[in-house]
Symmetry: D2
Subunit: 457 residues, 4 copies
């Protein structure tokens, strides 16, 4: 018979049902914050006059003992512990006797678990933010060191225009910067304290919820008790944030996986981030990056799972909501692995300058050639069409743009002059893209400076 | 042969491929913002010295003619219009001749479409915010008018504790308030201008991107051209926002669908929001609410679709990204329907006071009875257990809590006294929950006041 | 340095990368089938002449020792075991020495893991099918015992027409029957053996793949080695099957959760499948059913996760595919819990006949009344309209259909006669629905007979 | 006031609600099957004696007129048509008068729409199967013609082992073959007739449901009326089938997109399936394939949408189910585009033999070299390790495997002899993989023969 809620029940739960119902296997990682919440709650009960000072003190001491057991890893869970709240209260009772039964006054597991998960989440987000910033730093550092390196930029994975490798690398800085901004935004909504909402109707013991929220480090409180026990938005926001972050990393991974092929050869992953094959002795596979890409699937799946679970259920608390924790924990854990692995990959990979230069086909300068005609007064759309014909002719005759003789150019348009060949220079092309956010050296240097400022603030 | 990009091509696209590739069927709704973006771009080209003043003027006049045709609905699309950008440029050419070909100087469809979609989104979000606020007002108004009405609060859909109907209603105000906060947060990231990123490498014509962004009403610019043409975060954020908002509305719908049953009878939807059956003449079905609940599925599906599409594709622009628009438009359209329908439902539904009162079973006062024992010095956990036995006894003897004689209570605990019966009062119970965010009148009044402040600010 | 594939590597993997890359934490449950596959493979190598008879014997004996250690639970995993294949091969080497190194001849982990997972899945599906059939039996048994019980049928959760409770219950039998059919269908595709595909190019040692498949209990082989190592369809089919099965159970759960409310009171869950509250002593919550409904979210999330992971990755084997196992295992485990819990709930719940009868409002006979007019020659559409007016009048005057006097009926249509009141009988209505698949006793009895046949075949 | 169900209603629906509720915009494509179903139903009513022969004849004639209007495209929808059923019945009334009102006798829109959608689906699946088979034929044809062509096989996108191009191509044949098998499987469940289930309780007019099902071309009937109106499994199966098919095509697209890069250059898409850029004149982008990959996102999104919509709703019919059509139609339409486009791409793409041969690095023969040592009696695991060292040495000295002198080999293992160099032959390697399903010519020829058999049966 359940000691926490079994008063009106005659018998026990079915064994399979017990296992099905219990959350202790996955919510035990909330142990630390559960005790932290209870200590603050005991103090709040004292201030509200529900607990005498001595009682509160004894409870807090008991809880601190529990906290130590947890920290030392010698807290022992019993098979009758339904969830972490039950486990902690049971243990407190063993340590300080029936007084433990006063701790839950005016509190329900509904507001307790909502508080726990928010406290836990705040802690994890702090750590993930550091990992995110660390990755951003690795990116900016390499971008700065490789500023001179040119490579072909691609769209549709086809040769597009020459760009600085650093410009490509910095594009990921900005994606991650948005991830940081998003985290700051939703962290405000994580940081609201539901404690005192009780089961759904609120607290009857004159609890000072704002003081309690402050004591636990929250920025504010939840303003409606029925919403407070039911709100899972901050988890959905975390899961969505994780999915978008995963997408950024998956696109970085895709680029690098393709560039690690023999055909491209732009980068070589360090051995510490590659693996071999059990059958093919020559293999050096980019498993790290493939896992980064692959794990984005689970980040999206976790989001879908929780969205689907909470959709269309009655308001306030339903047991369906117990299903919130596993996808949340999985996303946090996954990101906790992804971020440092990607940092390591970026930090240690070899960049093959020669391969990048060799890949810089002159076809990537076709737009510059069109711009050249524009400067001669040809409307861009016509210029584009003329250069299209130039390109076709070069392909047919298997010539590069610079190898096509002037007469051939002039057959296509009389606006061409000898000076056209000066345009066919990769560095010149890159440097011409000097508007804000472009790939010219000055524009990339400015990006890096702005990025450093954001990292240091 | 495509006039926009066909210079190097010999022949035409396959017919099926044309249809498969063209986006004109769904991107034509961007017509207005596409022209708006082009007008600002022409002006920026003039400032950069690319267009002479007279040229810019002529282009802008032509674009304004196009805008008028669009507004009047007599812009005619041709079967050769691949997308909205092509259509507008084609029409501009018909109106002003070859000069139209200068407009695209230094611009790519990659940055153009990214600009269009952001402009479009900013406009739609403004309208949706108004619809959201309108729904919040309907909620606060009804909550205020029905402040006296008590009803059973439920958790797990089982009778829990008495609450004010207004308290329940206000719980949705706060969900929607978070939706508003979220919109404010991500709207900052929508409001960044990619124009000038061109295909991926940036602009070569000395464009003042910050001035251009300002002219179009953006708060800032995208700082990296490769990211600028590739970033779809703001769409994912919109889709996620829509999914969470949908979840809130789906839970509201679920509550009301259940309360509209004959068995509950708490509310009766107005005929304007109900439908009948083609076979059962007595029917009055809550179709409006079922569709609200059902359409949350598509909101989640749209999010999944775009997350999946962008996961793991190479960076910068890939044609996969053309798949961004349909889920985005569908979510915006769906929310544009959901919000006013829910407002209408809430505003017009009949609330059945008698049914709610009749449903107020005394079992919902069991917690108050436990609190009573706590005041007598019994630790809460023990009090809970004792009241559990009281409840079981009442069930066995088929008695209500107030009908169980004092002796019976005292057999269970000597702490019970005659005064226990005073606790068995629904209004008293509700009023006892007077901590911040609780269901007592004062606490709900405070919520409403806070809500009004948020609505008026 | 990795013993399995490290020959060409100089150093070790990064520690975090090791953890990130290793699958041993979740693939160890494949231990038994991994050994089973290796035993058959050793035998096949012997038949192909790659292993001498004595070598094969020694390897098989070694593997059988490993199998015993696994079964007894005293197989000890090392921190250097990257995955289950490595672990088993490592242990085999400890037991029989360098000869163990011959086992992997012509085999890759790519075909090995694909074989393992299929063997594992075949075993788990057998068990789940039994659980599914057990649930079907519980349904048919209760349906048979409760054949006399009438209740209101609902559409849109509004009163529709009277039905037999057994008819409702049997509707779930048929959903589950489709789930069984689906399992039979996709089990054929699980039962194809990829072993011998090696890394991707096939086997060079003259392996008899069909004999090997047969030895392992497969129905056939995979016909293309590049597809064989890459195919995850059978997992996607399993996950989709699980999601649909989950949906069926979630709808059953939704019905019963609503019917367990005080307002409906149609069913009462047995205490073994209900739980209480930590704060509200009167509570008896249908947690079992809420978890059934809630866990459908994870079943859908698992499907989304794997679909997203495999979408758009290069063909053959990529490390992304390592992400296939966790969602698969989670779905199998979840279903392994859901099915017996639902069986227990259905088997033990109390059905409240009085509440169902009391809920049988005469409005549910409106269609029968329309049918009555049809028999009098009124076209159905007109009859429907006339009865609509009858219903409206009854509501206005707060009368039941049978209390409305004949004159009132005749004011609405002269086709009404005294005999109309005979139609207003719940049992008669139910019995009139006697076409195949209807709710009349004979039709339900026929369903049950057909169901028993399907269960016994 | 709604003529179909408005008898008991006083007023009209809210305008926004009307638009929100109406399905006519998307269900009008069911017009043809709706009439088809009604014709069969009229006939069934005649057989059941509900309609006189003359009445049935007149109704059928009217419906045939409606069918012709639909076919000719001059059926005109009215703003008051809520859905396709209403529209057809309204038009029938205009054509034949009040007798039209007899058609809906004993039928509900619940069973009617379920019948329509199944009829529609059967028709669409037939067409899609043909498109699927057409793609399979294109694959087999090209595979047969290109049988001699060798290329490097990849795993993890890294060079693995030489394979026949045809072997790679055929791997997709088998994926598509599973898609065909799956379609056959679930088509059985589409082909069950719900007509006669009425609203939920079944038919009261002695309808011969089995005859009716047969008349409409169904294989069987739905055995439970409550399930019949509620079952959406066959749609979920279709959506899941479409998602898996999409995944196969997306992986094909990914391979070809990568192989179309300048760096690989293995294939060149025909101009009919490529597009250019509005700014870069040299561009020839594989938009067709990127859209194939991108659209897989919507196929997955559609599945998620419907799974989420039906999860946890009450059994029988809820209006949420109206949300089933749009994702279904979108998936059918999308597949109807994807399949012929992919056929066209495969059929017309240029395959660059030289590029493939040039990419055949000797490192892909490392496994063959290990097999060589195995033949010399070295256990495979040791052989693998030794070849790993060979590869490392070759990389360090920048030599190919065949350029490394024998002494160097022998320093690593004394088992090496001059004959090792014979192994270093791509054709020999491919031919060695001659087990069933391997890449040797004989094995591929066998695959093709088996495939032709499957296509012809």
């Amino acid at each position: 018979m359940n000691t926490l809620w079994g008063g009106r029940f005659d018998g026990d739960m079915d064994d399979l049902m017990w296992e099905f119902n219990a959350s202790i296997d996955f919510d035990r990682r909330l142990a630390k914050v559960d005790v932290q919440g209870s200590i603050a709650y005991a103090e709040a009960l004292r201030q509200a006059g529900v607990l005498a000072a001595a009682e509160a003190e004894q409870i807090v001491e008991g809880l601190e003992l529990v906290a130590k057991e947890i920290e030392r890893g010698d807290f022992s869970f019993e098979s009758t512990d339904e969830d972490i709240h039950t486990a902690v209260e049971r243990r407190l009772g063993e340590l300080i006797g029936p007084l433990a039964g006063k701790l839950h006054t005016g509190r329900s597991r509904n507001d307790q678990v909502a508080t726990d998960i928010r406290l836990y989440l705040m802690g994890r987000l702090d750590v993930l933010e550091q990992a995110l910033v660390a990755l951003q730093r690795v990116i900016v550092d390499r971008a700065e060191r490789l500023l001179d390196l040119l490579m072909p930029g691609y769209t549709h994975l086809q040769l597009a225009q020459p760009v600085r490798f650093s410009h490509w690398l910095m594009s990921f800085f900005w994606m991650l910067q948005r991830d940081r901004e998003r985290m700051v935004d939703f962290a405000k909504r994580v940081s609201r304290c539901p404690l005192g909402a009780a089961a759904l109707a609120g607290n009857t013991y004159g609890l000072d919820r704002e003081a309690l929220a402050k004591a636990l480090g929250f920025e504010g409180v939840c303003y409606n008790s029925m919403d407070a026990v039911s709100d899972r938005d901050m988890m959905l926001e975390t899961l969505n944030w994780g999915a978008i972050l995963g997408i950024h990393l998956s696109r970085l991974a895709e680029d690098l996986i393709i560039w690690s092929t023999k055909a491209f050869g732009f980068v070589l992953l360090d051995e510490r981030y590659a693996t071999g094959s059990s059958i093919m002795p020559q293999k050096r596979n980019p498993d790290s990056l493939e896992l980064v890409r692959g794990k984005t699937g689970r980040l999206i799946g976790n989001l879908t799972a929780l969205l689907t679970t909470v959709k269309g259920i009655p308001s306030t608390y339903d047991k369906d909501l117990q299903e919130d924790k596993e996808p949340l924990f999985d996303t946090l854990d996954t990101l906790g692995q992804l971020l440092p692995v990607v940092s390591g990959v970026i930090d240690t990979m070899q960049v093959n300058e020669e391969a990048m230069l060799a890949a810089l086909d002159e076809a990537t300068l076709a737009t510059d050639l069109a711009d050249y005609l524009v400067q001669k007064g040809v409307p861009f759309r016509e210029a584009h069409h003329l250069i299209g014909q130039v390109v076709k002719r070069c392909e047919t005759e298997d010539l590069s743009l610079s190898a096509l003789p002037l007469e051939a150019y002039q057959e296509i348009s009389s606006a061409f002059e000898e000076s056209l060949y000066e345009v066919l220079d990769f560095e010149a092309s890159v440097e011409a893209h000097d508007a804000l956010g472009g790939t010219a050296r000055s524009a990339v240097v400015e990006q890096i400076a702005r990025a450093r400022q954001l990292l240091d603030s």
